[in-house]
Amino acid sequence: MQEESVINTHHEQVIYANILEKGMYLGLGCLVITFGLYVFGIIPSAIPLTEVSKYWSQDAHSYLTAINRDFLHLDHLLIGWTWTTLIGKGDFLNFISIVILAGLTIFCYLAIIPSLLKKKDTVYTLIVIVEVIILGLAASGILAVGGH
């Protein structure tokens, strides 16, 4: 009984591991490429490279306010998914790779749900679904916090 369960679990682990591996290589590869495009000035950045160091010692809220005032001139501060409007800029292009790396777990979890359902493993199916909802909520930006 124990051996059988272990073998079944291993099958899910392999599914999870395969997606994790591909996504990890994709994310890290994109990270190196997009950073190269940004740092070598191939794609112009929204905040000039020479100016970034003037802002990074401020807290996040002050930093967002300052870069919006000095460079971005958007109606709202750059929180949540607002950065997608600046995807053509070298600095914000890097966010795509970060989103891939941070979002990978959600896809891995979604991929093992069919296997768990097939085994009628109700408890783990529910846990996995709840985890996907929680990570989805965190990723959505709905969970906002007050500044310092």
Partner: protein, 329 residues
């Protein structure tokens, strides 16, 4: 006979002290470049030369490369070194350092995850319930961490890092903990497994106990991981191994894999609050990962006890620095 014993004890004590002093010296030597670079860069930034911007990412890359090596040799995650050292010696605000720290821990876990899962050294059935609790509390930890004034977070970061140093001093490890009977919850969730011990070829059947209290502790661990951006391997392993009774290799492997889920949830909160600056994150990630690759190669020849002392000294120094910065001394 007693004289001989005393003489042996004295020799051991002397050699221990020699080891300790050598460790302190080496830690300071390793840390010096970071401090020197930080000082030099401050001067360069003050002078406002047009090229000043690249000095920071380059120095960050060099420091994180060293951290990556030390982290592998010391058997700890990179983020636990990254956050206190970078927040202590670089001019970046703690918000950005914590955001980068979580991504450093996350990337390391993502890189290690596939092979750990395939070799059964990370157990998905053990990780899934633990991850649900830890990732949920990490979200709350990160939300509170971003709402509380920085000096308070920096002070608590210093206290936490010094606590980790104390934990490293005192915590024991058990290769194969004695688990007489699996508890009801772990039995219901069917958390058990088999792995092959590489050194002996022996097949090890394992199970766990004290699952409810273990899961409860992961609420605190997740919360702290989110609040300080530290990763949580330093706390995961003792709880999985010593409290819940998972074999050491399973505990280490599952802990590393767990970070890919726990830190994901907290990283999203930091990301959505604008705490990610690519110029800080990317050099750190590349530095830590390259350092880890080098560290793995050095690991075969390194002396574990010496490295452990070195990591403890580095962490103690970084913890005191965080405390000093937080208290504004």
């Amino acid at each position: 006979m007693f004289d001989q014993d005393n003489s042996i004890c004295a020799n051991i004590r002397n050699s221990r002290f020699r080891g300790l002093w050598t460790t302190i010296a080496l830690s300071l030597v390793l840390l010096c470049p970071a401090v020197v670079m930080a000082t030099e860069t401050v001067t360069a930034t003050t002078a406002a030369t047009p090229l000043a911007w690249w000095i920071w990412p380059v120095s960050l890359f060099i420091v994180t490369l060293c951290m990556g090596i030390v982290a592998v040799l010391g058997g700890i995650g990179g983020a636990v070194l990254f956050v206190p050292i970078v927040s202590g010696f670089f001019p970046f605000h703690l918000d950005f350092v914590r955001g980068a720290g979580l991504l450093v821990a996350l990337s390391g876990a993502l890189a290690a995850g596939p092979s750990l899962l395939r070799s059964d050294l990370a157990n998905l059935r053990l990780a899934i319930p633990v991850a649900l609790i830890a990732s949920t509390s990490a979200i709350f930890g990160s939300m509170i961490g971003l709402a509380v004034p920085t000096n308070i977070i920096q002070t608590f970061l210093g206290i936490t890092v010094l606590g980790i140093v104390a934990l490293m001093f005192t915590a024991k490890k058990s290769e194969l903990p004695e688990v007489p009977k699996a508890d009801a919850l772990s039995s219901a969730l069917r958390i058990y497994g088999v792995y092959t011990e590489g050194s002996t070829g022996q097949t090890v059947n394992w199970k766990i106990h004290r699952t409810p209290i273990g899961l409860a502790i992961f609420i605190i661990i997740g919360f702290m991981a989110g609040m300080f951006g530290l990763g949580a391997g330093w706390a995961n392993v003792p709880v999985l191994n010593l409290l819940m009774g998972a074999p050491l290799k399973i505990s280490v492997g599952t802990s590393k894999f767990l970070l890919s889920i726990t830190d994901t949830s907290a990283a999203w909160v930091y990301f959505n609050q604008g705490c990610i600056i690519p110029m800080i994150v990317v050099p750190s990630l590349i530095g830590i990962m390259l350092g880890s690759f080098i560290g793995v190669r050095i690991l075969k020849k390194a002396k574990p006890a010496f490295i452990r002392w070195m990591v403890i000294c580095l962490l103690a120094f970084a913890g005191l620095k965080a405390l000093q910065k937080g208290l504004g001394i």
